[in-house]
């Protein structure tokens, strides 16, 4: 006869552990997202000495023409970048999905290249081409690089792959039957384009527009390198906080910086919901037919990918010659960073360590939390709250994370209505922990959504099967759920690693001289005039990321070979 020691299913050990875990995850999210943001908002309404001033800080900001000019500048940059970048990406994605052209794989990968580089790299190459000693400048072609022109070109390169990826997905999910119908009705290519293609990708287009706008609105790297005296919000914040230690004003700029991201966030939430409904189960994938203007599209893709490649090749070449453009003798001397910076190669090593830890810890954390949010049966409110907080970082530019972390974690204690509460989290300030934490939170939402989507596809009964077979839930999690989600997990690992390698915006406020990162070293060397070494360091970042990506593809292929067996019918 069976004995029943474990009464009340709610309190069985496995379940209780899961419940405690989900509460811990929620606390983690609150401490690392909500509380720092609150500190930022509180700071914006106080003056330097800490007394409440209402909206005085905002008033001061907008009445100071030198400061508020930055708002206009940033808006201008973002508008220009968005228009050009989305247009370019639109036709690029169109060519790759709707036109029969050669070299598709090549074009696809080249377009992704900028994702592997810190945004300073584009700036540095621009300097080599059009800067004071640039080749084109020396040929008499002066485009007035330092300022709006340089920033816009860099931002276009930076945002192009993001827009392209969004539009690629949008184009790929169109139903070919619409085109067949149009063809039988005698509609020509241009008419088809206007009446079918554009409407069918409208949500993707909208999403791309907002993403490009937000990214260029908040980017720090490019304006730092090619901005000259042209002030934008991102560099202002840096000056306010790092230069003048004016936290209140930094917080004010931060809140302004947050606005387009909030709009973008809302739009994104709405469009992803709408877009998925566009495809019916009977949709037919697009079929290519040869058409007259095909060569034009090939030429278009060719030119764009060549331009992207030039930027990377210039950075590589310039880092390998003695003195650009006067002495073109090849040398590795710029890769010996000791000569220009006391920390030498160490920032690069630090970057790899921080990115690796961020990616592993982040992926484990995000996947387990997504699992509990998706599969736990009880604690509905906690799960919904956790889900909501998990997608907030989508709206948070790195700069906001950086400054809100200073404001929260650097405090020794908080004052609440006369009570003084010591800040027990202060100890992570100035350590590697805060860098890792900032990266994980900065890149939290995309992997979270990836994990959530993957988990949604997994049969709901598996947990029940394991109950009925007395298999502990953790075993089913490790032996079934994880293997079934392995591609999503791999994708998340790579995503966090690559982004942690290239990012500047959050960590620039948080690093210490012991823990300098490669991307920050790029900025410092560029500031110090060692532009070739800056290029060299940026190249190391790109090289590492490309290598990681290749390893990822190889492992993925191996995994696919295995998973194919149980996915094929």
């Amino acid at each position: 006869m069976t004995t029943f020691n474990n009464r009340i299913s709610k309190l069985s050990p496995g379940n209780l552990f899961q419940k405690i875990l989900i509460v811990i995850f929620l606390l983690f999210l609150v401490i690392s997202i909500i509380l720092p943001l609150c500190s930022l908002f509180v700071e914006a309404f106080h003056d330097k000495s800490g007394s409440f001033t209402g909206i005085d800080n905002f008033y001061y900001y907008f009445s100071n023409p030198a400061l508020s000019q930055s708002v206009n500048n940033t808006l201008f940059i973002s508008f220009m970048t968005t228009i050009i970048s989305v247009l370019l990406a639109f036709f690029y994605a169109y060519s790759l999905t709707r036109v029969k052209i050669k070299w598709k794989t090549f074009f696809k990968y080249v377009a992704l290249l900028p994702l592997f580089a810190p945004t300073m790299l584009q700036g540095i190459s621009l300097v080599y081409l059009f800067g004071n000693k640039g080749i084109f400048t020396s040929l008499g072609i002066d485009i007035n690089l330092y300022g709006a022109v340089g920033i816009i070109i860099s931002e276009i390169l930076y945002t192009f792959p993001q827009a392209y990826l969004i539009l690629l997905v949008a184009f790929e999910i169109t139903d070919y039957r619409l085109y067949e119908a149009a063809e039988t009705l005698g509609a020509g290519r241009i008419k088809q384009f206007i009446r079918i293609t554009v409407p069918s990708v409208k949500y993707g287009l909208l999403s791309a527009i907002f993403v490009c706008f937000t990214l260029s609105f908040t980017d720090f790297g490019a304006p730092k390198v090619v901005g000259g005296d042209y002030n934008v919000l991102a560099t202002d914040i840096y000056k306010q906080i790092v230069g003048q230690q004016n936290f209140s004003m930094g917080a004010v700029v931060g809140i302004i910086l947050l606005l387009p991201a909030l709009v973008s966030f809302t739009v994104d939430r709405i469009t992803t919901r709408k877009q998925s409904s566009f495809l019916s189960s009977k949709s037919i994938p697009f079929q290519f037919k040869k058409k007259p203007a095909d060569n034009l599209f090939f030429f278009y893709c060719f030119v764009i990918s060549v331009i992207i490649l030039i930027f990377f090749l210039v950075a590589i070449f310039a880092s390998l010659v003695k003195i650009w453009p006067y002495n073109l003798k090849l040398t590795f001397s710029h890769y010996i960073f000791k000569t220009v910076s006391s920390s030498g190669i160490k920032p690069y090593i630090n970057s790899i360590i921080v990115s690796f830890v961020s990616s592993v810890v982040g992926t484990v954390l995000i996947f387990s939390s997504a699992y509990l949010i998706e599969k736990l049966k009880s604690m509905k409110i906690i799960r919904q709250l956790s889900y909501f907080i998990s997608i907030i970082p989508l709206a948070l530019p790195g700069l906001i994370i950086g400054i809100s972390y200073i404001m929260f974690f650097n405090r020794l204690n908080f004052n609440f209505f006369g009570f003084t509460i010591p800040n027990i989290f202060n100890f992570i300030y100035g350590t590697i922990i805060i860098l890792v934490l900032a990266n994980i939170i900065h890149f939290y939402s995309v992997p979270f959504i990836t994990a959530n989507t993957a988990l949604k596809k997994i049969e709901r009964e598996f947990e029940n099967v394991s109950y009925s077979m007395s298999i502990p839930v953790y075993k089913t999690f490790l032996k079934v759920t994880v293997p079934l989600s392995i591609t999503a997990i791999m994708e998340n690992l790579m995503y966090i690693f690559v982004n942690s390698m290239t990012t500047v915006s959050a960590v620039i406020f948080l690093y210490t001289s012991q823990l300098k990162l490669a991307s920050i070293a790029v900025i410092h060397m560029e500031e110090g005039g060692s532009i070739a070494s800056a290029a060299a360091m940026a190249n190391l970042i790109v090289l590492t990321n490309v290598a990681v990506r290749i390893i990822y593809e190889i492992i993925l292929k191996k995994i696919r070979r295995k998973t194919d067996a149980w996915q094929k019918r």
Binding site: M1, T2, F4, N5, N6, R7, I8, S9, K10, S12, N15, E459, E461, F462, N464, V465, S466, Y467, S468, M469, S470, I471, P472, K475, K479, V480, P483, L484, T563, A565, W566, Q567, K568, R569
Partner: protein
Amino acid sequence: MSHLLINDITKKFGNFFALKNVNFELEDGEFLCLLGPSGCGKTTLLRIIAGLEEPDSGKIFLNGKDITSVHPSKRKFGIVFQSYALFPNMTAYENITFGLKNKKSSKNEMQRKINELFSIVNLDHVKFRYPSQLSGGEQQRVALARALALDPDFLLLDEPLSALDAKVRNKLRKEIRETQEKLKITTIMVTHDQEEALTMADRIVVMDKGKIMQIDIPQRIYELPANPFVADFIGDINFIKDNSAITAIRPENICIDEKRGIEAKVYHREFRGAFYRLTLCLVDKNQMIKVDIPSNKKIGFLENNERVFIELPADKLITFKDNEYYHDHNYGNNNFDEFKTKVLSS
């Protein structure tokens, strides 16, 4: 020995009663079917028995012990889920042995157990295939073997055959029943297929809208349905209204005669293989009636609109203690009006 008592179980989803005061008992080694239309609460009841769902009120007793809030893993119930829920990343073999490895049984014993299982469910040739490489019937047997692997005291099956085509379904009905008898394992099977319930079950629990309509052996459920719902849900039936009293009769129990009996006209004739299904119109009663006649019996050449006579043998007439459910459903023959305009007026 295992004896299960379901005592007054009620389950609500919001304001909706999925189960209302459900009571029944299960004997050792019995094969019980939960039968009812889609959405009547069969799965919910099964999940409550398995411990995957908690009832709002009522209790479940196993051998006299209250197990209502015992964790599912402690109940020793093997479950086959409606969707099978096989682990797609494991072969048939791995699926079945996944739970075994968790028990501290000796290697030899485990191997013997596994071999026995595979021969019972007849899966030797597909041992190392993944679920996606198995046919529906094979997947079903893997799910069954997995549920049996841990020597459960009870077997719970949720529509184990509904995803299969008719031929395979017939074969597996027999296989499941044979396995169950061989292992003498007490089983509850959910189904919405009356034929499945009638052929497989020792006893059937007929449910509708979260309530139990009747519990009995298959023959009595068919011959003596407790109420009009059961009569109509299982098999075909004619309801005959006499003032307020309602009687019913199965189509195959009606006799047809050329001269004597109740006068009727042929409305429609359908060949169904083993029998002809006639739809007749009782002129005096303003009612349509279904009659089945074995096709090996000469029925002459009954043409549409032809006059015949029927007899309703008294010992085959069904009366109900409880007519309550008659009025909930639309059992009357609506096409009588159509018949009137089409046939009688001509």
